[in-house]
């Protein structure tokens, strides 16, 4: 038994499974750092997975291998538009942000399958896409034994996700935009006093959130499943929320948590291969991200504290 190869495969699979979670948890980060709760990540991912698959389907005959890119970008735009009602409700109409998020999750689940059935003559899923992303091998580096396969043979979306982690860290912690974003989420009144447009910041953040979560959804339909159906996303949006909290609302933390939850998924197949399921039921591995999040939130595994104004609508007239 070649343990090096097994480990190499495990890292490789972990990256595949984590990519969508990284996108979505980064999406959640923008929204929540601005003070808007986003439990609609699941719905935004569903819309992204759907848009990505359908647009790729539309262009795969004419554009060939470029089609997944068109689908991917379209998914980002679709996600931003889909997030707009959440911003309108939570920022302009001061609605309960959790309820609005629940509504968007419902809407995404219904709308995506409704439209799929209309487009594909009543079928509950898109046809299998002939063009999806293929893995990129980094020249030179992917020849390194074990490590090359593990890290340097990944889908382009994975590389983009890791770059986005860095970009998000830079944007949120090193630029005026990021300072404003955090100010609006921690103390909107103070931010307003110094001339920051709270509403505009929150609208922007929620729409970025939708775009990134949708890219995460598109990653699933354009790499691992090659189609869209009602269970393409199946709860990964909620794992992304877990990753965001587990990662303490920090981009690197969220990435770390997403990778950790990705290991949990990758190990599942490994456990099955080695017949270990009789010792560790797969259900417990599925449960792990959720249980860990509860433990973290309860402060049993390090404290995690949310942005101070999270979930509170900003009312210019209030004290």
């Amino acid at each position: 038994m070649d343990w090096g190869l097994i480990l190499s495969n495990l890292v490789h699979d972990t990256i595949v499974f984590s990519t969508a979670l990284i996108f979505a948890s980064l999406g959640g980060l923008y929204s929540e750092r601005s003070g808007v709760v986003n439990i609609a990540l699941e719905g935004m991912m569903i819309i992204g997975a759907f848009t990505g698959a359908v647009m790729t389907y539309a262009f795969q005959d004419s554009l060939g291998s470029l089609a997944p890119w068109v689908g991917f970008i379209a998914a980002g735009i679709g996600g931003a538009i889909f997030a707009l009602p959440h911003a309108v409700a939570s920022v302009s109409f001061k609605a309960d942000q959790t309820v609005s998020g629940v509504a968007l999750n419902f809407l995404a689940a219904g709308l995506s399958v409704y439209l799929t059935k209309i487009i594909f003559n009543g079928a509950g899923q898109t046809t299998t896409l002939s063009q999806v992303f293929s893995k990129w091998s980094i020249p030179g580096l992917h020849d390194i034994p074990y490590l090359g396969h593990a890290i340097f043979e990944a889908y382009p979306t994975s590389y983009i996700a890791f770059i986005l982690v860095f970009l998000t860290w830079f944007l949120v912690f090193k630029t005026p935009f990021g300072l404003r974003l955090r100010a609006v989420g921690e103390h909107p009144r103070a931010a307003d006093t110094v001339g920051i447009n709270v509403k505009k910041m929150r609208y922007t953040a929620v729409m970025i959130s939708g775009a990134l979560a949708a890219l995460g959804g598109a990653t699933i339909s354009l790499t691992t499943t090659s189609n869209f159906s009602h269970n393409t996303v199946s709860g990964q949006g909620f794992i992304a929320i877990a990753a965001l909290i587990f990662g303490k609302w920090h981009p690197a933390g969220a990435m770390g948590a997403a990778l950790f939850f990705g290991v949990a998924q990758a190990i599942k197949s490994l456990v099955q291969i080695f017949g270990l399921t009789q010792y560790v039921p797969t259900e417990f591995i599925f449960m792990l991200p959720y249980v860990l999040t509860i433990l973290v939130m309860a402060g049993f595994v390090g404290r995690s504290s949310a942005p101070a104004a999270l979930g509170k609508p900003y009312d210019t007239g209030s004290r």
Binding site: F93, V99, I118, E283, A298, G299
Partner: protein, 357 residues
């Protein structure tokens, strides 16, 4: 007559009503965009529900769990908690009642009530995990209950796989006849639609909801904590204990709902690949029902009709059943953002004022 008009123009009644109308209109727009005839579709929906005794009975079957989960969400709301975890509480209620239903061999008058109580206690305990974490460690109950929903799903599958599902099968053994709560004579009247005592229990639960919250001292405390936890604290109430209590009672409602679904409808439990959805629909039911017991029952009837009737839309007008999820989502959205609804309601209220003077 003026009194009747007064009830119907009250804001607490108008907002949900306008939200429902806006939701149905959104659905109609989605149907027009998809090339369907919305009028034909909605008529087909009603024809499905009221067209035959069997379908009417099955609609009642569909309404029942929605009353339970609606009450579960609404009860916690009254204590200022958002119980998004009715889904998980419903699931553990199913597990506990299946366990009792399959494992014991008792006289029917003990067995069935015991299975229901098991479901209630399981749901209550599951709900109080989120309540305890909120009370003891200050954790937001929304996130913990979302996580607990998924834990419940996998936990249920594990319990079923490990103890109740014969090798190679996808569902548990059937529960003993003594635990079944199907009403066979009523079922026979409705062409064997799956009608059961759970519907009656749901109505009793709604009455219990009213009595405990508005007619008892502990209900007064629960509501006081929901309205103003700080003032309640100063008045000498134990806020934390009330938070756990509210989540326990809310969870009990959902747990009984899950138990009745097993004991009255399926008589076995299957492996779940996704959430059954009654808990999430319960959020919509509670919101539309204004977190009052009567409102919850009425809203559950509406959503039961919509979800069961959606199959008729498919048959009668070719509309995919998922359209109804779009309608429900829009209704929740408009209730949440009632600022939007008020734009539509304002002219009606204004007219009333002018007419009154």
């Amino acid at each position: 007559m003026n009194k009747v008009i007064a009830v119907f123009t009250k804001e607490s009644f108008l907002v949900p009503l306008v939200a429902i109308i806006l939701g149905l209109l959104t659905g109609a727009v989605a149907m027009l965009a998809g090339g369907f005839n919305p009028v034909k579709a909605y008529v087909a929906l009603l024809e499905k529900v009221f067209g035959s005794a069997y379908n009417f009975g099955e609609t009642i079957r569909q309404i029942t769990p929605l009353i339970f989960t609606g009450l579960a969400v609404a009860f916690a709301f009254r204590t200022g908690l958002f119980n998004i975890g009715a889904e998980g509480q419903f699931i553990v209620g199913m597990v506990a009642s299946t366990a009792v239903g399959v494992s014991f061999d008792l006289p029917a008058y003990i067995h069935a009530p015991l299975a229901i109580i098991a479901g209630a206690v399981a749901g209550g305990l599951w709900g109080s995990i989120a309540g305890y974490l909120k009370a003891a460690r200050g954790v937001n109950e929304v996130i913990t209950s979302i996580m607990l929903n998924w834990v419940a799903l996998y936990f249920a599958n594990w319990v079923m796989n490990a103890f109740f599902i014969p090798a190679g099968q996808q569902r548990s053994e059937m529960i003993q006849d003594s635990a079944v709560i199907t009403i066979s004579w009523l079922s026979a009247m409705f062409d064997s639609a799956r009608l059961h005592w759970g519907t009656l229990i749901a109505i009793l639960a709604a009455i219990f909801f009213y009595v405990i919250l508005w007619k008892t001292k502990s209900g007064y405390e629960l509501r006081a904590v929901g309205l103003n936890p700080h003032a309640s604290e100063y008045a000498g109430m134990n806020v934390n204990r009330n938070v756990v209590k509210a989540m326990f009672i809310g969870g009990m409602f959902a747990g009984i709902g899950g138990a009745c679904e097993i004991l009255g409808v399926f008589h076995y439990q299957a492996i779940m690949t996704s959430q059954p959805g009654y808990g999430f629909d319960g959020i919509a039911v509670a919101l539309i029902g204004g977190n009052t017991p009567l409102g919850v029952v009425l809203a559950a009837i509406l959503f039961g009709i919509l979800t069961f009737g959606s199959a008729g839309m498919k048959f009668g007008a070719g509309v995919p059943v998922e359209l109804i999820r779009v309608v429900i989502a829009s209704v929740i959205f408009f209730v949440a953002a009632h600022g939007i609804v008020k734009i539509f309601v304002k002219p009606i209220l204004k007219k009333k004022k002018e007419g009154g003077n």
